[in-house]
Amino acid sequence: MLNTIIIIAAILILVILFAIFRVSSLVDVIKGDSSTKIPSSNGLQANLLLLFLIAGLIGGFYYSFGGLEDDFVLPVASKHGVITDTLFWWTMAITGVVFIVTHIFLFGFSWKYQHRKNQVAYFYPHNNKLEMIWTIIPAIVLAALVFTGWKAWMDITRESPEGSEVIEIMGYQYAWSVRYPGADNVLGDYDYLKIDATNQMGIDFSDRASFDDFIPREIHVPKGKPVRFNIRARDVIHSVYQPHFRLQMNAVPGMPTQFWFEPTKTTEEMRVETKNPDFQYELVCNKICGQGHFAMRYIIVVDELEDYKEWFKSQEPWLKQNADYLTEVPAKLREAASIVAGIENPSDLDAPNGLTISGSK
């Protein structure tokens, strides 16, 4: 019933609008103002353009500097992020000035040179000097932007420094898995053919380095130390994105990528800075990857170095938690594997069914 009324009301409104339109166009015909080719509201349009300029500038300034900037500028928490932010704000200053000046000219000229009866337009087909000026000046400004941007880019994308913490991140529909190298500080090999429901990351246990690798539930990184993410994906493209670190790199199936950065603020410090006691660094997927794309949240915790080391030591190797995977270790390495992973009773391994082992006790 209500719907019917709404539909009837909408139709009535349309009919009324149409009637107004017809009446006004008939009035125009009677007035005969179609003889002149200058629109009757030419001056009004010019004024509206000027009004738009003024209202737009005021609105833009208010919105950009009226106290809301704290909301949309995220505090930066990495070393390179400070550099990219500086570049960002320099570019903002330059483009902001160009934006405002060009718009003042665009709408200002529109208003100033609106049609007047005895006004004659100035025949001004070209001026080579002027054109040279506004080709060369942007070229110089852009050269400056390119050069600073290029320097920063090369710096950010260079090889990670010696002694970086190396952490592997793998994206899949629709979550992240993270692997740490363990005590030997070397990540073991992986092979996508070894992936199964438990071994989500396809760790290859024929490589010694994988025995002590651990897979925690959240990422911990130390403050003030370079951290290198080795990034991969196992099904479709994902993208590792963390806006506070100004960090982003795609995770591509079949093509490992990497990104290194140096965190400068612990989670605790950020909680104080943002006045949000629940603040967490959130890892985000930023490349369309399917219907759960919007829900690939993963927590990154930035610790002080000592806390990080402690946390690192307290983690159990994945192999220890899933000791039945010892069967995938080549026979001659099994003893070494159980020692490295800290599995206490590996003797049952020779039994035909390795699944009986419960190593974590």
């Binding site: 390119v146 099904d235 993208s239």
Partner: protein
């Protein structure tokens, strides 16, 4: 029948005075399978309008989801069926399908076919003084391939598994594997088939535009006397001809990967509980091929709009376009550079960072010719005598969008800054302004400007003004705020932001944007009414309603097949002699010889006038 007709006219292009043998055609050949460029242009326009409504409508639905995440969308169930759950929630996968279709429709069907297809077809013969396109039959095929492609894409939206949903850029493996999302099944197949027909259409059209511009210019219409519209359409066609075939290659390899077990783009994939056998492919290869088209494509979209704007701004400023040569030069420079900047879409895909720095350098160079264009438009306004027709307002709006969106390109083209902005709403704001809205405004400016020629009647000015102001202000209210949430790191293509603390702010801003989008979309219905109503009921148009110089205004009110009833007019001058000092009117059409305008000639032009044949 109509084919031979065209061939006859082609031979008669230059100076033939017995082209009165016009014969009545049956309805089908006159309006449906027509080879007349004017009819084909209108077909492109109407199809484009249909797609624009659909594409815009989709954006309103997904904006509702973003602006009002808790809304009960049950009322959409009659249209969307199972894509709305019983609790009134939009299906997350259909959300992705809608953004994919919105992008595909807008970029390809509206702003490529709808814009180039309409105005290149309509204006190239009329502004050059040709009876029709070089090949009317190819032109007919061009439209009908587009129509076929449209039908296939439209059908794909009704599949139970949904249309393609991996984003309009259809990056594999997501688009290659039906296991990854249901839209990558039949929906994706139809998308690929549709695009192949679409590309065929674009190529047939493009070859025609290029040939016509090179071969069928009327006497006196040298390249230096061509209106900037034609220059823009010409270069656009060249761009399309060089870049679209690469998309075919790109898409064909994807078809092989999808259907025939090859591994061009696939490697080491474990999905749906099983490891796939594909090894050695590279998803990055797809991105290189895709953006090799994709980047020229954005210029294919914007250049015709800039060409239209040049013409409209010059005419309505009553002033020559400032820097005609520089405008042509910048079109050429943009066209050339557009082929060597594609990888700026890929800075953070894992591509070698060294490549990234090369592409950053090339990308920022392309800002220079773009800046020249903007400055030249503004200088054209300076000391003009501006007439604000709706077309003029839309052109000024275009320049504003082109500047706003172009400037944010300097952020995204800078690889270091792009790290944090890539794939956020900042990018959404950037390209919606610089190519989406700007090109759309070019399309609207063109419709308002050439409607009197197309249909012999005038559109209503007042409705045009209301349409302009609602749309112009609306577009800024929609896209300007998106920069802010982009800086805040909001990722694009998100169904909802509530999962993240970092993105849980700005709920009211998102609602505001949605309301603005609905109003902007609603304002387009004013245009639709104005357009369709005045085709039939509009005031009859005078022959040259805007006092313009170009050739199309020398045709009869409704040009018949063949455009000019008698001889094709000759051209004696460039198209921008507005407000020439000494001239009695503020415009001198291209058909007026120099020896008739002694009072306004320069010395050089007086020399030229001696060479002219006295007019008969």
């Amino acid at each position: 029948m109509s084919i031979t007709d065209i061939q006859v006219t082609d031979e008669l292009v230059h100076g033939d005075d017995h082209h009165e043998e016009h014969h009545e055609q049956s309805f089908i050949f006159k309006y449906i399978f027509s080879t007349d460029h004017k009819t084909i242009a209108k077909q492109f326009l109407i199809t484009g309008i249909f797609w624009a409504i659909l594409g815009g409508g989709l954006s309103v639905i997904f904006r509702l989801q973003l602006g009002f995440p808790d809304m009960d969308m049950g009322f959409l169930q009659p249209f969307l069926g199972d894509w709305i759950s019983n609790s009134g929630k939009l299906d997350p996968e259909f959300y992705l399908a809608m953004i994919t279709m919105h992008g595909t429709i807008m970029v390809f069907f509206v702003l490529t076919a709808g814009l180039s297809g309409t105005f290149s077809n309509y204006l190239i013969p009329l502004q050059l003084g040709a009876r029709d396109m070089a090949s009317g039959f190819m032109n007919l095929l061009s439209y009908w391939f587009f129509f076929l492609s449209s039908v296939i894409m439209f059908i794909s939206m009704f599949l139970s598994t949904g249309p393609a949903s991996g984003g309009w850029t259809i990056y594999p493996p997501l688009s290659a594997l039906p296991q990854a999302m249901s839209g990558s099944g039949m929906g994706m197949t139809l998308w690929l088939v549709s695009m192949v027909f679409f590309i065929a259409s674009t190529l047939l059209g493009g070859i025609n535009y290029i040939t016509t511009v090179i071969n069928l210019r009327t006497e006196g219409m040298t390249f230096r006397r061509m209106p900037l519209t034609i220059w823009a359409f010409f270069i656009t066609a060249v761009l399309g001809l060089l870049s679209f075939p690469v998309l075919v290659a790109c898409v064909l390899l994807l078809v092989f990967d999808r259907s025939f077990g090859t591994s061009f783009y696939l490697s080491e994939i474990f999905i749906g509980g099983e490891a796939l056998p594909n090894l050695g492919g590279s998803p990055i290869l797809f991105q290189h091929l895709f953006w090799f088209l994709g980047h020229p494509e954005v210029y294919i979209v914007i250049l015709p709009a800039l060409g239209i704007t040049s013409e409209v701004i010059s005419t309505n400023s009553r002033k020559p376009i400032f820097g005609y040569t520089a405008m042509i030069g910048s079109i050429l420079a943009i066209a050339f550079l557009s082929f060597i900047v594609w990888a700026h879409h890929m800075f953070i895909t894992g591509m070698n960072p060294f490549l990234g720095s090369i592409f950053m350098f090339l990308t920022l160079i392309i800002a220079i010719p773009s800046a020249v264009k903007a400055f030249n438009y503004i200088t054209t306004l300076w000391k003009g005598n501006l007439v604000f027709t709706p077309a003029m307002l839309f052109s000024i709006g275009l320049v504003s969008f082109f500047i706003s969106g172009g400037l944010t390109g300097l952020f995204l083209g800078n690889a270091a800054i792009d790290i944090n902005l890539h794939d956020t709403y900042f990018v959404v704001a950037h390209f919606h302004l610089v190519m989406g809205s700007a090109a759309f405004f070019g399309l609207l400016a063109g419709v308002y400007h050439w409607f009197p020629k197309m249909f012999g009647r005038m559109m209503d000015e007042k409705l045009g003004y209301i349409h302009f102001w609602l749309t112009f202000v609306g577009v800024y209210l929609v896209f300007f705020p998106l920069h802010y949430i982009g800086i805040a790191g909001f990722p694009r293509r998100y169904y909802s932001f509530t999962n993240f603390d970092a993105f849980s702010s700005f709920v009211d801003l998102n609602s505001f944007v949605t309301v603005a989008a609905i109003i902007t979309f609603g304002a387009q219905f004013i245009f639709l009414f104005n357009f369709f109503y005045n085709i039939f009921k509009g005031k009859k148009a005078p022959l040259n309603p805007w006092n313009s110089n170009t050739l199309e205004w020398t045709t009869p009110r409704i040009p018949e097949h063949g455009n000019w009833p008698g001889e094709i007019p000759k051209v004696y001058r460039w198209p921008y002699d507005y407000s020439k000092p000494g001239a009695k009117d503020d415009f001198i059409p291209q058909t007026v010889p120099y020896h008739q305008t002694k009072e306004s000639n320069t010395d050089f032009e007086n020399e030229e006038s001696k060479k002219e044949q006295p007019a008969t």
